[in-house]
């Protein structure tokens, strides 16, 4: 069923349900994932699904109902359920109503090759990677995803927005008994994912890891591949780039706005229209996504807002970052298209960053990172799939995976270099586009066995 039909059915049923304002969000998804391990495909799945979310507003009360059934009777029933849920609640004077229509910029993120990619085509790509690993006596594991989705938002105030997009994503770990290496690539075009290049990137780390080095825990310089850099930006987002977290004083941005808290080399922004990422022109309220500078040249600027959080303070407007209602209530606005601005420094590649390092660690990626102290974004986690000791400008060998406990805000205050090449990485519904980075100090507390 087309989104226009779904929207018309919902909005017309809303009149019968006596809903004062009504919104419908539809995500139609066809996604396939080919998963491999031990050099063969062991899981290979395809999903065809809808998610229809209806919000009914009665007075200042909001009820939500979600279903994946698009039959007309089911859609009508969904509206009545949402309206009934709204009517059961006490009034919420803080709710200022659904937003009205605002012009939305056009952009593109649809690739026919990604939309029509077959299980055979994915198997061909995976086969290239697995055979490459196997030919060296190594073992590969990972996944390749392709899919197409249609995202639509409409409401009774005249909002109607629809966007069709595609995705291609692949990641792999290649291992032997001594070492492992990792690679990951994402984009909206199928050619963003080159399985041969991914294999080469991961294999290079395995080869580097054949020589073992020791590194005692402590504070050292680190060079982070983009996979590790993405964790820094992702955790900063999770811990406080939301206007809701900021209003509830849970954010690392509280008490820091307007202050230089990071190196002048650091500019973090969210931009749903930047074609270098995976574009998305509007949010789950159908509001246009605006460019938001979260940190600009090291200065803490502003979190992102949806219509509800923006309505709480005069002068604020939605930045187009509303999220769908979740099972636990309102998650608040969130940046889904994050960028760390590439650097312009002399050391623009990982190789150059290593050459200028007297002693430090070169890290492929972080794993299982969790908050220890949210206001300072103190995070603990492990390194994984390639941690290398650097001495006098050269990699001397691979260390065991290391545990760190470090404030990410403090870490980004001491930046030695920011790489010049963005890597687009998709995690869940978020896209983080980041370069490699070199940080002066990062605190490690132990090594694994």
């Amino acid at each position: 069923m087309k989104f226009r039909e779904i929207a018309d059915t919902v909005l017309s049923a809303a009149k019968d349900a006596k809903s004062d304002e009504t919104e419908v969000v539809c995500v139609r998804q066809e996604e396939s994932l080919t998963r491999f391990a031990n050099n063969h495909i062991h899981q290979n799945v395809t999903e065809s699904n809808y998610e229809i979310t209806v919000r009914c507003v009665v007075g200042t009360r909001v009820g939500t109902a979600v279903s994946n059934n698009v039959r007309t009777e089911s859609l009508r029933g969904l509206v009545h359920r949402a309206a009934e849920l709204a009517k059961l609640q006490p009034e919420n004077p803080e709710f200022k109503g659904l937003p009205g229509p605002v012009p939305i910029a056009t952009t593109q993120a649809f690739d026919r090759d990604a939309a029509t990619c077959t299980p055979q085509a994915r198997a061909n790509g995976v086969g290239v990677l697995c055979r490459k690993a196997q030919s060296m006596g190594y073992t590969a594991a990972g996944s390749m995803t392709t899919g197409v989705s249609t995202f639509g938002v409409a409401n009774s105030k005249g909002v109607f927005a629809e966007f069709e997009s595609t995705v291609a994503d692949a990641s792999s770990v290649i291992m032997n008994g001594k070492a492992s290496g990792w690679s990951h690539a994402s984009g909206w075009k199928l050619d963003a994912v080159n399985m041969e290049s991914l294999a080469d990137e991961a294999l290079e780390k395995v080869l580097l890891g054949q020589k073992i080095a020791e590194c005692e825990p402590g504070e050292v310089t680190v060079i982070l591949d983009p996979f590790a850099t993405a964790d820094l930006i992702g955790m900063l987002a999770y811990d406080g780039m939301s206007g809701l977290a900021f209003q509830e004083e849970r954010s690392w941005m509280n008490g820091r706005t307007g202050q230089r808290i990071m190196s002048p080399e650091i500019t973090i922004f969210d931009d749903g229209l930047d074609l270098r990422g995976i574009p998305l022109p509007f949010d789950f309220e159908g509001q246009p996504k605006r460019y938001v500078a979260i940190v600009e040249n090291g200065v803490c600027k502003t979190p992102v807002y949806d219509s509800h959080t923006a309505s709480r303070r005069p002068g604020l407007t939605s930045t187009g970052h509303a999220m769908p209602p979740s099972a636990g209530g309102t998650t608040g606005p969130f940046p889904l298209n994050l960028f760390l601005q590439p650097g312009t420094s002399k050391e623009s590649t990982v190789e150059e960053m290593i050459r200028s390092t007297k002693r430090g660690l070169y890290i492929t990626r972080f794993w299982y990172t969790r908050h220890v102290h949210p206001r300072d974004v103190v995070v603990t986690g492990m390194t994984r799939d390639g941690t290398f000791l650097v001495e006098n400008g050269e990699i001397v060998g691979a260390t065991k995976s290391m545990r760190f406990t470090q404030s990410y805000v403090d870490a980004l205050a001491g930046v030695a270099a920011v790489g010049n090449r963005l890597r687009v990485l998709r995690a869940g519904g978020t896209t983080i586009s980041v370069p490699a980075i070199k940080l002066n100090r990062f605190r490690f507390t132990s090594a694994t066995k």
Binding site: Q43, T46, L85, S143, A327, G328, T380, T448
Partner: protein
């Protein structure tokens, strides 16, 4: 639904599948969330669809759809077979599923009060009542509460003749108080920090008594703002029941998953240090450590009639008197070791394949009264309620944090401690266990948010534990 399921099975046979199974699942969730005296979210979530898994030769394929019509079942079944053909282009070892599974029957979670029979007004009144009690403490910045009701109807059929129908009810909820002062944020939750959830009915929420615990957690959150920080040293650590449940989940449950051992989660969830040569010989913990996987436990989030391969619920030891004694297994992985599945395959929904998941993995009770355990400790720290959790991809090196801690001095609980953390290496940690609480202190906790697999699946697991004592543990790993 039986007609649809059998149609899919027949079609896969005609298309040459060696084995096939189909699940038709209807999932209904009703969630209510309150925050600061207001209704934050009130939602009804429903999802229905089916998934077909086929084995063609030695290659797997799976396809799923939300549209339950004969034509769509034919299309999706053919797509699953086509996908398996593609898998065969990058082949692996021969697949042996072990003995055929021909389970027949039905199962329904026992409930005293159907959670969907309780009015929304009643549920809202319960949450808003607890919320008001939390906000009596003016230093609380955010008060939150939620309840969740789940009904999941599952039909499973396979090409070997199995056909089972199950209705699983889940009920969960929690409240929390957040206090903020300067740069300090402190949260206290009840019953624990991952919404406590059980298989069962509304009776669980009534027994939990949110209102009766609301003022206590508010006062504790505020007191934590000015509490002493957790000291940084090696000391005796006593973990409360819910934190020990999380420790079991991360450092016993996950490494015992046999798919991780065989490397099939290597790129995402990770692998395991419990490699197959360690089975029945490796000293995982001290002789007091007995860990069991049990999908028959009353109220466990991992409790069911049959798993998603049609294997009946069972109880099996994982660690016996400290020795590693068993894995969590699927049909395919079990047969690789010459064993039979102990029924651990579960899928998040109709649109996901089953994976090896913990059922209820629990530490069997010991002999200690909690007061005696504290009284027997000269110097140490007591920690409870998880706040932060991190463990490496082999499930070896971990660091966990808790919402609250207390100094132990000369056999007595002393001053309140904030920002508590502890770290260790899994077998070293469990081998340092010298006391486990008795059955009176044992409680089965629910973890509703365990992530695994690609595409990611979230699963509920159960973990029972009484408080436990561990010697010479590093605490206070903060900055």
């Amino acid at each position: 639904m039986k007609e649809f399921a059998l149609r899919a099975i027949d079609t896969t046979s005609r298309l040459g599948a060696r084995y096939a199974d189909v699940r038709v699942v209807t999932n209904r969730n009703q969630s209510i969330a309150t925050k600061d005296g207001k209704v934050e979210g009130l939602g009804d979530f429903e999802s229905i669809g089916f998934g077909v898994r086929v084995l063609l030769g030695d290659a797997w394929g799976f396809a799923s759809s939300a549209e339950i019509t004969a034509a769509e079942i034919d299309r999706v079944t053919a797509l699953a077979v086509e996908t398996a053909k593609a898998s065969a282009k990058v082949p692996g070892e021969p697949v042996d599923l072990g003995p055929p599974v021909r389970s027949i029957g039905s199962y329904t979670t026992p409930v005293r009060i159907d959670p969907f029979s309780v009015s929304l007004e009643t549920k809202l009144a319960l949450l808003l009542g607890a919320d008001a009690r939390i906000r009596r403490n003016s230093k609380v910045k955010v008060s939150e509460g939620s309840v969740l009701s789940v009904r999941r109807d599952k039909v499973f059929a396979n090409s070997e003749g199995a056909y089972v129908e199950q209705t699983i009810f889940e009920t969960g909820g929690s409240i929390s108080a957040t206090a903020v002062e300067g740069n300090e944020i402190q949260v206290r939750s009840y019953p624990h920090s991952f919404r406590q959830q059980v298989t069962g009915g509304w009776e669980y929420i009534l027994e939990a008594d949110f209102a009766g615990n609301a003022e206590r957690i508010a006062a504790e959150a505020v007191a934590l703002l000015t509490a002493a920080p957790c000291p940084s040293l090696n000391t005796t650590l006593i973990l409360g029941s819910s934190q020990l449940a999380l420790q079991i989940h991360e450092s016993c449950g996950h490494p015992a998953e046999l798919d991780r051992v065989f490397g099939t989660e290597a790129a995402f969830a990770g692998r395991s240090f419990l490699t197959t040569e360690k089975l029945n010989g490796f000293r995982y913990g001290s002789s007091l450590v007995n860990l069991t996987a049990d999908s028959t436990s009353v109220n466990g989030l991992g409790t069911f009639g049959w798993d998603d391969e049609g294997i009946p619920a069972s109880r099996t030891p994982l660690v016996r008197d400290g020795l590693f004694a068993g894995y969590l297994m699927s049909r395919e992985t079990a047969s690789t070791l010459g064993l039979q599945s102990n029924g651990c395959m579960r899928a998040e929904g109709w649109n996901r394949i089953p994976l090896i998941r913990m059922a209820n993995v629990s530490l069997e009770p010991g002999t200690w009264e909690f007061d005696d355990m504290i009284g027997d400790t000269d110097d140490g720290v007591f920690m409870e309620t998880n706040r932060s959790w991190s463990i490496d991809d082999m499930r070896y090196n971990f660091q966990f944090g808790t919402e609250v801690g207390y100094e132990i001095k000369k056999g007595k609980l002393g001053r309140l401690l904030k920002n508590c953390t502890y770290a260790g290496i899994t077998p070293e940690f469990w081998n340092s266990c010298d006391a486990v609480g008795n059955a009176r202190h044992w409680k089965l906790w629910g973890t509703p948010n365990c992530g695994k697999g690609e595409p990611m699946q979230t699963m509920g697991t159960g973990h029972g534990a009484a408080p436990g004592r561990f010697r010479n543990i590093r605490v206070g790993v903060f900055r």
